[in-house]
C-alpha cells in the first residue's frame, strides 16, 4: 500500500487538531506516515497513533523551528524522493501553504491549496474539493504532474480515531536549507476563550461597536455563550481589537456552528471568512446591510439595545 505523507503541526510536543484531520484523510488513500519536523516526536507519538498513523518520520532538529519554512520543505522533498508517496497532505495555514509551495517547486508537482475535502476518484487518485470566490463556487481539482500535494483548510473534516503503530523512524536532512532566521516569537494573549478557528460559537463585532470600549459588549456576549471573539477588519485596523482575531479574506477563516455578526456590514472580504458557518445571526441597524443576505436570523436594530437585552435573557435562562 502506498504511503501518504502527513506533515504534523505541533507545538511543544503537542499535536494540533488539524494533524488528526489530515491523518484521517490520508487513510482513504494508503498508509499514513507522519512527518515530524523539529523536537518532540516522542511526545506526539501517542496522538498520531490514535488516528491511525503507521509511522512517524522524525527529524528532531532545531533547524526546523529556527528557519522560516525552507528546511521543512527540504525534508519533505527528500522524503518524497525516497518514499514516493501517493499524496502529501499539509495543513493549509499561512505557513503550511508556503511549505507546500516550496515542496511543489522542488519536486515539480502540482499543488492544490485551500481544500475542504479530498476523495479518491475511480483510479484511487486524489480529487480535492475547493470553495472559491468567497464560497460562491465549488471546484473539484486534481494534480496532473508529480506527487499530488494538497494543503487542507483546517477544521474542514472531523478527525476519526483508528489504530496505528506510529512507529518512530528517525530521519535527518541530507541537504542544508536555511535562509530566513527566526529570532523571536511573540504570542498574543487569548485568555480563557476558545480558539477562534476551533470554536463552536463565534461572536464577531464590527465598526458598529463604535470603539474599543463599545467592543466590550462583544466580549461579554461571547463569554455568556462560551464563544470565541472575532472582529471585522474595520475593528482591527482601528486598533479596537488585535489583528489575530480578524475574520475574513485576510484574517481567519471560521466555520462554526453559530456565527454572530454584530455591527458588521458583511463586505465580501468579511464574508469570505465566515460564510460556511452553519448558522448565522446578524444584528445591524441598517436593513440594507449585505450581512442579512446570509443570515438565518437577523435583527434590524441598535446593537447597544439588542445585545444588552440578549445578555439579560441569557442570564435569566441560566438561572432557571
Amino acid at each position: 500500500m502506498a504511503e501518504i505523507l502527513v506533515l504534523a503541526e505541533h507545538q511543544d510536543g503537542e499535536v494540533k487538531k488539524v494533524t488528526g484531520e489530515l491523518i484521517t484523510l490520508a487513510r482513504r488513500f494508503g498508509e499514513p506516515a507522519v512527518v515530524w519536523a523539529g523536537p518532540g516526536a516522542e511526545q506526539g507519538q501517542q496522538r498520531c497513533a490514535e488516528f491511525g498513523a503507521a509511522r512517524i518520520y522524525a527529524a528532531e532538529d532545531a533547524v526546523f523551528d529556527d528557519y522560516v519554512v525552507a528546511p521543512t520543505a527540504e525534508l519533505l522533498a527528500e522524503l518524497v524522493r525516497a518514499k514516493a508517496p501517493a499524496l502529501v497532505l499539509i495543513a493549509g495555514t499561512g505557513e503550511g501553504k508556503e511549505i507546500a509551495a516550496r515542496l511543489a517547486v522542488k519536486t515539480d508537482s502540482g499543488l492544490l491549496t485551500d481544500a475542504v475535502d479530498v476523495t479518491p476518484d475511480q483510479d484511487g487518485n486524489p480529487v480535492a474539493e475547493q470553495s472559491i470566490f468567497g464560497g460562491s463556487t465549488v471546484v473539484h481539482s486534481r494534480v496532473k504532474r508529480g506527487t499530488p500535494i494538497v494543503a487542507m483548510r483546517p477544521h474542514s473534516v472531523t478527525p476519526e480515531p483508528a489504530p496505528g503503530a506510529a512507529e518512530l523512524s528517525p530521519v535527518s536532512l541530507a541537504e542544508t536549507a536555511d535562509g530566513a532566521k527566526v529570532t523571536g516569537r511573540v504570542v498574543a494573549e487569548r485568555g480563557e476563550r476558545p480558539d477562534l478557528t476551533e470554536a463552536t460559537i463565534v461572536v464577531s463585532g464590527g465598526r458598529g461597536t463604535g470603539g474599543a470600549e463599545g467592543f466590550g459588549i462583544i466580549e461579554r456576549l461571547a463569554d455568556a455563550l462560551g464563544a470565541a471573539v472575532g472582529a471585522s477588519r474595520a475593528v482591527t485596523d482601528a486598533g479596537w481589537y488585535p489583528h489575530q482575531f480578524q475574520v475574513g479574506q485576510t484574517g481567519k477563516t471560521v466555520s462554526p456552528q453559530l456565527y454572530m455578526a454584530i455591527g458588521i456590514s458583511g463586505a465580501i472580504q468579511h464574508r469570505a471568512g465566515m460564510q460556511t458557518s452553519k448558522t448565522i445571526v446578524a444584528i445591524n441597524k441598517d436593513p440594507e446591510a449585505p450581512i442579512f443576505e446570509l443570515a438565518d436570523f437577523g435583527v434590524v436594530g441598535d446593537l447597544f439595545k439588542v445585545v444588552p437585552q440578549l445578555l439579560d435573557e441569557i442570564g435569566k435562562r441560566k438561572q432557571l
Binding site: 491549496t113 523571536g184 516569537r185 448558522t279 439588542v306
Partner: protein, 264 residues
C-alpha cells in the same frame, strides 16, 4: 537598490466572478480588472523602501513586474502612477491558464533577467487566494523567503521583518537579496496624484513575450500547469432567513432563536 514588485491584475472582488465552462479558467474578460488589493501594499512598501534608501544616498529603483493579459497593462500603469519607476509586462497567449507552479517559473525567469535586490509580493491574490507565490519565487531564485510581513526594516543588506503567525508574530531576519510578501497591516497605500498619472505615461514600459524572456512554452499555460479542474458548480445561495425589526424585543427574539437552535 533594485526593487521589483510583483503585481497581479485580478477581477474586482465586488463583481460576480465565474469560471468559464469551456476550460474552467477564470472569466477575466467579462469583469473589471483591478490591481490585486494586496499588491497595492506591496507597491507602497517598495516605494517607501526606495525613498528611505535614497534618503541615505543609495540609489534605488522600483520596477513593477506583472504577468497577465493585455488588460493588465492598465493596472501596471496605475502602479507606475503611484510612483514606481518602470515596468515589465509579461504578455503572451501561451501563458493563459498557468497555475501557481508555472506562474512562479515564468516570473522567476524574468527576475533572473532583470536582477533584483528585493522582490516584493502581496500576501495573496484575491482571485486565486493561494498565498504561495513568494515562497515559490524564493525557492526558484535560491534566496531567503521573508514573507507575511506586517513590518519591514532594512539596514544595509540586513532585512528584518515581523512575520504574522496564527497566534501572534515572529521576528525574522535575513540578508538581501530576498523575496518578501506583505500583509495589509503593513502600510496605507497612497493614491496616484495627477502629476503621478501624467508622469506614468512617459515611464519605461517593456512588454515581453515568452521568447523574449527565455520561457519554455511547454512549462506554462494550461498544458504546463501541474493541476487541473475536474468540474465545478456554483453553490446554491443560502436559504433566506428570518429578519425582524427591533421593536423593543429584538434581544428576546435572538434569545428565542438561539434557544430553539439549542445554542442556549
Amino acid at each position: 537598490m533594485n526593487i521589483v514588485v510583483c503585481v497581479k491584475q485580478v477581477p474586482d472582488t465586488a463583481a460576480e466572478r465565474k469560471l468559464k465552462p469551456s476550460d474552467s479558467t477564470l472569466d477575466r474578460a467579462s469583469v473589471d480588472g483591478l490591481i490585486n488589493e494586496l499588491d497595492e501594499y506591496a507597491i507602497e512598501e517598495g516605494l517607501r523602501i526606495a525613498e528611505a534608501q535614497r534618503e541615505t544616498g543609495t540609489e534605488a529603483e522600483v520596477t513593477i513586474l506583472s504577468m497577465g493579459p493585455e488588460k493588465a497593462a492598465e493596472s501596471i500603469r496605475k502602479a507606475l502612477s503611484m510612483g514606481a519607476d518602470q515596468a515589465v509586462h509579461l504578455l503572451d497567449d501561451g501563458l493563459a491558464g498557468s497555475d501557481a507552479l508555472s506562474t512562479s517559473y515564468a516570473l522567476a525567469q524574468v527576475l533572473k533577467e532583470t536582477g533584483f535586490d528585493l522582490v516584493i509580493c502581496g500576501s495573496e491574490s484575491t482571485d486565486a487566494r493561494m498565498g504561495v507565490l513568494a515562497a515559490m519565487l524564493a525557492e526558484r531564485l535560491g534566496v531567503p523567503q521573508v514573507s507575511l510581513a506586517s513590518k519591514v526594516d532594512i539596514d544595509g543588506t540586513a532585512i528584518r521583518i515581523r512575520r504574522v503567525s496564527d497566534d501572534g508574530y515572529h521576528e525574522v531576519e535575513a540578508s538581501l537579496p530576498a523575496v518578501i510578501s506583505v500583509v495589509e497591516k503593513i502600510n496605507e497605500p497612497r493614491y496616484p496624484s495627477f502629476k503621478g498619472i501624467m508622469a506614468a505615461k512617459k515611464k519605461p514600459f517593456r512588454t515581453l513575450s515568452l521568447a523574449d524572456a527565455g520561457i519554455d512554452p511547454a512549462s506554462v499555460g494550461l498544458a504546463g500547469a501541474g493541476t487541473e479542474v475536474v468540474d465545478f458548480a456554483e453553490r446554491p445561495p443560502r436559504q433566506a432567513g428570518v429578519i425582524v425589526k427591533d421593536d423593543g424585543d429584538g434581544g428576546v427574539k435572538v434569545a428565542e432563536f438561539l434557544v430553539a437552535q439549542k445554542f442556549i
